[in-house]
């Protein structure tokens, strides 16, 4: 019955986490929508940049790849991989990286490399790209995931990108003087990390689902005691996202149908 899709509430939920002035390390897909919609709604001085080196492009058309020529136009500066990746760790800036992964554990560590082992691989993913670097060096990380038990696992097959490591103070002890995941935004909910244990907990579930569903789709024990229902996207948020950010719905995909479109996720 919702008048919005899961992709739409994901983009808007992630966008709400952006602060004005943040320097946003975006990938393609939902992360770009989240960054762009945040800039249009409440964070006009946020800057979007890409690991390929495009810093603050005009984004008149949505890039479909971080190496899309659309990330090179209207930029403040066109530079190189090494410059863009160096910016991630710049201590002056609140750099926020949007990442996705094939697997995530309860501390927000990510696997985007392989299932099995090098000796006996069961599946191969593209690899880190800049994800390990963003997870290591950025001020904070926002993670997008499809919410499935096989993705939310007790133990990663491969730790590509460091989250809160083994919880508590372990990230700092591992050698990272800042950073760590801020939130996990899925097609069902937004999860955050406990201040002390650094374990994931359910913060907000979308109106079309419930904490039990979220827990059952999560492959590790999830604290749902703090869960609240998310407020649905406002008309004006949806209007900005749909007509201002992705009018061709290249990333958003189909409009919600008269059925609750979000059910299909």
């Amino acid at each position: 019955m919702e008048n919005y899709t899961a992709n739409e509430i994901m983009a808007l939920s992630a966008g709400r986490l952006v602060k004005n002035g943040d320097i946003l390390f975006a990938g393609t897909g939902l992360s770009m929508l989240a960054a762009t919609v945040a800039k249009r709604i409440h964070a006009p001085e946020a800057v979007v940049f890409f690991e390929t080196g495009g810093i603050d492009p005009s984004l008149d058309e949505l890039p479909l790849a971080v190496a899309d020529p659309r990330v090179m136009v209207g930029t403040s500066i066109n530079t190189s991989l090494v410059d863009a990746l160096s910016l991630l760790g710049h201590p002056k800036f609140r750099t926020i990286a949007f990442l996705g992964a094939a697997q995530i554990d309860c501390y927000g560590n990510l696997n985007s490399t392989l299932l099995g082992t090098y000796e006996h691989p069961r599946q191969r993913f593209p690899g880190s790209g800049g994800a390990c670097d963003a997870a290591s060096m950025a001020y904070g990380v926002i993670i997008f995931m499809q919410h499935q038990r096989r993705r939310f696992v007790e133990k990663l097959d491969y730790l590509t990108s460091p989250g809160w490591m083994t919880g508590g103070d372990s990230r700092r002890q591992a050698g990272f003087d800042r950073g760590g995941p801020i939130a996990v935004v899925t097609n069902l909910c937004v999860m955050k990390f406990d201040e002390h244990t650094k374990m994931m907990y359910l913060d907000e579930y979308y109106p079309f689902t419930d904490p039990g569903k979220v827990a059952s789709e999560t492959g590790f024990d999830l604290d749902i005691s703090r869960a609240r229902m998310a407020s649905p996207p406002s008309e004006s948020e949806l209007a900005t996202l749909r007509s201002g950010v992705d009018p061709q719905r290249l990333i958003l995909g189909p409009m919600p149908t008269s059925q609750a479109a979000a059910d299909k996720f």
Binding site: L64, D68, L81, V82, T113, Y118, S128, D133, L250
Partner: protein, 319 residues
């Protein structure tokens, strides 16, 4: 200085041997040196050792055609057209290639170390991850055939007593760097427009540099704006004129990526049979760039032609 201009066929014949370590320019769907890559496949070069950060259509094709033995990389995919490259994935799972995983920062730092003649680079990025703890290359190959003795090492910061552990990474000095640029001056000065990715570092690190380009322009013209240039003339060993030389990937200011072709490739790359058909249809038959472009067709090329003001093809159907 006289430009060492030649055909792609001659460049492969002269500069690329079985087993060479090759750095490919470009990134996923942008400025892959595709003309050279097709020619390497046509000449059946084998056992290549690719060193890349995030590749890409070119790597997919080389791996699929059986030219590759070993890869060091951070990312193997063609962006939205194949988030994990089909041929890369299959070769990895079938163990027809050996793969060593790094991050993009690691790989670009390694190219930078090679470019600058530094013994190694140090970073904290990736500490305590499996990128540090595991190795995809066999222990046996370490220290042989250009494979560095160590994938990397974790050491205590030698300068800062509170610095903790850092990762030190070996430099990359590939045998050949191949890149596609928009412009080369007729004495060799090279200009890349838009993002340079790690192409410049790769070229500076390499023993031999092969540049394909959209246009050769007079050297005195390219030197009127030397702030814009990417490589000095003497660093370029061979130049191949290659209009649409990055197709089906993009070349900023000249053409966009070709979604029709990339989708066609994606579908044909899934299965071995279909991929063989792709090679027979799109790679082996063409002994010139012109013949390949005839096959692509003027209608498709017009669709991806870049708008002069924007540098890409606005309104292109990219689904």
């Amino acid at each position: 200085m006289a430009l060492n201009r030649m055909s792609a066929a001659d460049a492969v014949g002269k500069y690329i041997k079985d087993g060479d370590q090759i750095a490919l320019g470009g990134f996923t769907v942008n400025r892959n040196p595709m003309l050279m890559i097709r020619e390497i496949i046509r000449q059946k070069i084998r056992d290549l050792y690719l060193v890349v950060h995030s590749h890409g259509q070119g790597m997919e094709l080389l791996i699929g055609a059986g030219c590759v033995k070993r890869v060091e990389l951070a990312y193997g995919g063609v962006a939205r057209f194949a988030p994990t490259g089909h041929r890369f994935k299959k070769a990895f799972l079938d163990k027809t290639i050996e793969v060593e995983d790094y991050s993009n920062f690691h790989m670009t730092l390694r190219f930078l170390a090679g470019a600058m003649g530094l013994p190694f680079m140090a970073t904290k990025s990736g500490l305590n991850t499996d990128i540090v703890r595991r190795s995809g290359f066999s222990a046996a190959c370490r220290g042989t055939d250009r494979v560095p003795e160590h994938k990397l090492k974790v050491i205590d910061d030698p300068l800062d007593p509170d610095g903790g552990e850092v990762i030190v990474l070996p430099p990359l000095k590939p045998d050949v760097a191949i890149l596609h640029a928009q412009f080369v001056g007729d004495e060799g000065t090279c200009r890349i427009c838009g993002l340079t990715f790690a192409d410049i570092e790769q070229a500076k690190a390499a023993k031999t540099v092969i540049v394909t380009c959209e246009e050769i322009i007079p050297e005195d013209i390219i030197r009127q704006e030397p702030d814009q240039n990417s490589l000095p003339h003497f660093m370029v060993d061979a130049v191949i004129v290659a209009p649409f030389g990055a197709h089906p990937t993009a070349c900023h200011k000249f053409y966009d990526y070709d979604p029709v072709h990339l989708n066609l490739f994606k579908n044909m790359a899934r299965e071995d049979d279909c991929f063989a058909d792709y090679l027979n249809e799109w790679v082996y038959p063409f002994d010139s760039q012109e013949a390949y472009l005839e096959k692509v067709g003027i209608r498709n090329l017009l669709k991806i032609k870049a708008n002069s003001a924007l540098g890409y093809a606005p309104g292109l159907d990219r689904r």
